[in-house]
Amino acid sequence: MPETTTQFTSLLPNDVLARVERMRLNPLRRKTNHSRGEHLSGKGGTSTEFADYRDYSPGDDVRYVDWNIFARINHPYLKLYKHEEEMHVVLLVDASRSMQFEGKFELARQLAAAFGVMGLFNVERVSAYSCSEQSADPLILPPCTGRSSLRRLLTFLEELPGGGEFPIEAAIEEALKRHRGRGAVVLLSDFLTLGDMTRSFNLLHSAGLEIFALQILSPTELDPELTGDLRFVDSETNQTLDVSSVGELLGLYHEHREALSNHLAALCRKRQGRFLTVSSEEDVKSVLFDRLLRRGWVR
């Protein structure tokens, strides 16, 4: 009789979950909150990890004077320690109808769960936003910390509804209205929008959030195999576009798709962010433990 193992969550297999628990997000910048956390700030702090020495100045806390050195050279030096501050990890999952194709939304939720688990297990504040219907308020997971919040996070992501026509740039603005705190934002979307992402990324940057943008595209979007004359129907707006000789335009389509990815990557790079395009048919293990790990998104 085969051994059956109860899955902790439907989003991630137990082995992936176990490995993710030992990983942590690796931001380029140290955008942390003043509240104590496990992210070392650039400033001196009160952690146990030694950072440097400096000359004693009147008024300094004499508890940090290195008395051994004072005894040998009769000059007071102050010991400095690294400061550990809390980082806020914001998960923004695009749940609009455009994500409901070929497993894009499922991969987005899996990756969101993975990043959330990393945050919770590294004593960081994790909050999540999901936008679908433009007329309705976004679904929000309020900031939470600690391993005790793991179930809340996973339940929130498991029960995320799909559909709607919320564009990602509007979803970012809507989320920022409700968000407080510095840290990192993980954007999980296809970024197929008619709007401009520049303003959205500017807002995120000015809000002190380092951008981790993951563009999830379906195989049909990455390498369409289309011929003839077609009438395309937008899944979100139901608008139509008649295209003749689609096969002839596929080369141009690939140029535009790559141009969009390059444009988004450039926007992120200018704001010390990161950008990566993944296919929805890729396995979450491959994305997490291979591509993201090798690119230094996580460690």
Binding site: D190, L192, D223, R231, S245, E248, L250, G251, H254
Partner: protein, 647 residues
């Protein structure tokens, strides 16, 4: 402007109206499938970029439509059946005469006969036949045969063309032209095309050059396409035998070469399959001929065959074989009443004659036990008795009696007649002088009777008197008869030097009629008449196992047997062969292979052209092919995969 293509079916241009629904349906995109995609964002930018950046965007966007329109236009143009005008004027009804006489079997250096070359040219015309054109094929040799009705059915025409075979007979284009003339009464025929090697019956012109003259009034335009002359040829043009003594024949063979070059051959004569003498070698310069004489001793009937074994080039095979049937050697049986003393005197001095009645045995016209030729009781009957006219004879000479069918045209009056004119070249009257001859009977034409009326009855006037005809000749089937309308005993003729000459000529003619002195090889075309059993059905088997059934008439004459090929023809009654006869080409014109460059008709002369006729060439197959190519291109364009798709 002749370079503009013609249109056969201009009404098909209405089909261009189909372009309207084509464009409408294209833009309505009735069959454009809907496809839901996550977002139009990328495709919108793609379309906008395409519109902005591509100078030929509109063209490229509608390239499929343009290709479809091009395909439709090509198909409509094909339906209009345009054609490139050839040099020849287009004719709706076009009879094509194809010479299939013996010389058309002559081969060129590549082994192709001239009939094959002609067929190729006609096949080209059939292949490029326009929809409103109708052809009829007529094969022309010594007779004309219409192979098809006027039709545009290519299969029928090609089958009929393949069925045309060379006949080993001389050419007579009049037959085909008359057939075309008859067709012109029913159909609107403006042009007739004649494919021939130009090897037509000729006669010398003023300068002695051969000139083809056709006694025919052309009611249409004749296009004479002459085929190239083939290589050299050598052949037998005459084969006959003459009796040179008791049971002895001199056999004459004439060998002629064409004008194309030197020819050589071995000539072999055989009798009943056994060689006669040794083969003779003949070498002829271009256009030369040579007569060979063989001696053959036999009293029995024999079938002679002369065969030519060419050394080197020989274009025509049909003239390398000739046949000759020698009769049984016997004396000429002559009946002459005892009262005609002058005739009997003249006959008795001639050799190899069996004269009846004999001086002591017969007295009143009993034919006795003679075996005359052609089934007649006598070979020659000379008489002045009315009842003797009923004697069967291949040659008869009646004097002093007017034939019954001529009696209404003339009377014999008392008076003195004289000979005004006579045919000096007639075989009977050769070297006979009638001048100053006195005749005490006066054959006189009835009032209002013209001499032409004698001709209508089948008589030929050999001598004219001052009041009417004096001597008549009539050929009736195989029999030849002469009628002296005055009695020779009432003239000075028996006392003249010309009388024994006249009798000698008569005997010579009778010998020829009975095939006792001169025998000629039977030419192809129609076999000579034969006397067999009356009213019997005979089966005639030809050289190539061809078979036909023919019946003899009440007199037992079997005639009109077609002999289109050189070889031996067997006449069978049931399964038994009753007679065999060989037919040979024996035509100097056909052997020479000389082709004339012009044909002289009664009122005009037609020049030959050696170039192949440039016919109207239909363009619809090319247009249909182009439409198919465009369709394939459109399909490929519609389905083609993009290049350089990133992985």
């Amino acid at each position: 402007m002749s370079w503009l293509p013609g249109i056969t079916t201009p009404l098909a241009a209405w089909l261009f109206a189909l372009l309207v629904p084509l464009v409408v349906f294209y833009f309505l995109k009735l069959r454009r499938p809907r496809m839901e995609i996550p977002s139009l964002a990328l495709w919108r930018s793609v379309i906008e970029d395409q519109r902005v950046n591509s100078p030929f965007q509109k063209f490229k966007r509608n390239l499929l439509l343009l290709l479809q329109m091009a395909c439709l236009c090509l198909l409509v143009l094909a339906a209009m059946q345009p054609f490139v005008r050839g040099g020849a004027e287009q004719a709706t009804y076009l009879p094509i005469l194809i010479d299939n006489s013996a010389s058309m079997a002559a081969t060129d250096a590549e082994g192709r006969s001239r009939l094959d070359v002609a067929k190729d040219e006609v096949r080209d015309i059939i292949d490029n036949l326009l929809s409103d054109q109708r052809l009829t094929l007529i094969s022309v040799s010594d007779s004309a045969q219409r192979m098809t009705e006027f039709t545009d059915n290519r299969r029928v025409l090609l089958d009929a063309l393949d069925a045309i075979q060379v006949a080993d007979v001389p050419s007579r284009p009049e037959e085909g032209l008359q057939l075309a003339q008859a067709l012109a009464r029913t159909f609107e025929i403006s042009t007739v095309r004649f494919y021939s090697d130009g090897n037509l019956p000729t006669r010398p012109d003023g300068a002695g050059k051969p000139m083809a003259v056709v006694d025919f009034d052309l009611p249409f335009d004749l296009q004479f396409h002459k085929l190239d002359e083939p290589a050299a040829n050598i052949g037998i043009t005459a084969f006959n035998a003459r009796k040179s003594g008791q049971d002895r024949w001199d056999v004459f063979v004439r060998i002629e070469g064409s004008t194309a070059g030197q020819t050589a051959a071995q000539v072999e004569l055989s009798a009943n399959g056994e060689p006669v003498g040794s083969p003779e070698s003949v070498v002829l310069e271009a256009g030369q001929s040579q007569r060979l004489v063989f001696r053959y001793d036999s009293a029995d009937a024999a079938s002679l065959t002369v065969r030519l074994q060419p050394d080197g080039t020989d274009s025509l095979a049909a003239d390398n074989l000739a046949h000759l049937e020698l009769p049984i050697s016997r004396p000429l049986s002559v009946y002459c009443p005892s009262e005609l003393v002058s005739y009997r005197h003249s006959l008795e001095v001639l050799s190899d004659i069996e004269l009846s009645p004999g001086s002591d045995a017969e007295s009143g016209g009993d034919p006795g036990v003679v075996t005359p030729g052609l089934g007649a009781m006598y070979d020659l009957v000379i008489s002045d008795q009315a009842h003797d006219r009923n004697l069967e004879a291949s040659t008869s000479f009646i004097t002093g009696l007017v034939p019954e069918d001529v009696q209404s045209l003339m009377t014999v009056e008392e008076g003195l007649a004289e000979v005004i004119d006579w045919q000096r070249d007639n075989r009977l009257l050769q070297h006979v002088q009638f001048a100053d001859m006195d005749i005490t009977e006066m054959p006189t034409l009835a009032d209002g009777v013209e001499e032409a009326e004698f001709e209508q009855l089948g008589y030929e006037i050999l001598a004219h008197g001052n009041t009417g005809p004096l001597i008549l000749q009539r050929r009736e089937g195989p029999n030849l008869s002469f009628h002296l309308l005055f009695h020779t005993d009432r003239s000075t003729l028996p006392y003249r030097v010309g009388f024994p000459v006249l009798i000698s000529n008569l005997v010579a003619l009778a010998r020829e009629q009975a095939n006792l002195s001169d025998v000629r090889g039977a030419p192809t075309g129609v076999l000579p008449s034969m006397v067999l059993k009356p009213e019997r059905e005979y089966r005639v088997t030809g050289p190539n196992e061809s078979s036909a059934t023919q019946s003899s008439n009440a007199e037992g004459v079997l005639k009109g047997i077609a002999a289109r090929e050189v070889g031996t023809y067997a006449i069978r009654e049931g399964s038994q062969i009753v007679q065999q006869i060989g037919a040979s080409l024996l035509d100097a014109t056909e052997t020479s292979l000389h082709g004339v460059d012009e044909i002289h008709f009664r009122e005009l002369t037609i020049d030959a052209t050696t170039e192949a006729a440039t016919t109207d060439r239909p363009l619809w197959p090319w247009l249909a092919f182009a439409a198919f190519g465009v369709l394939l291109g459109e399909w490929w364009l519609y389905l083609r995969r993009p290049g350089g798709v990133p992985a």
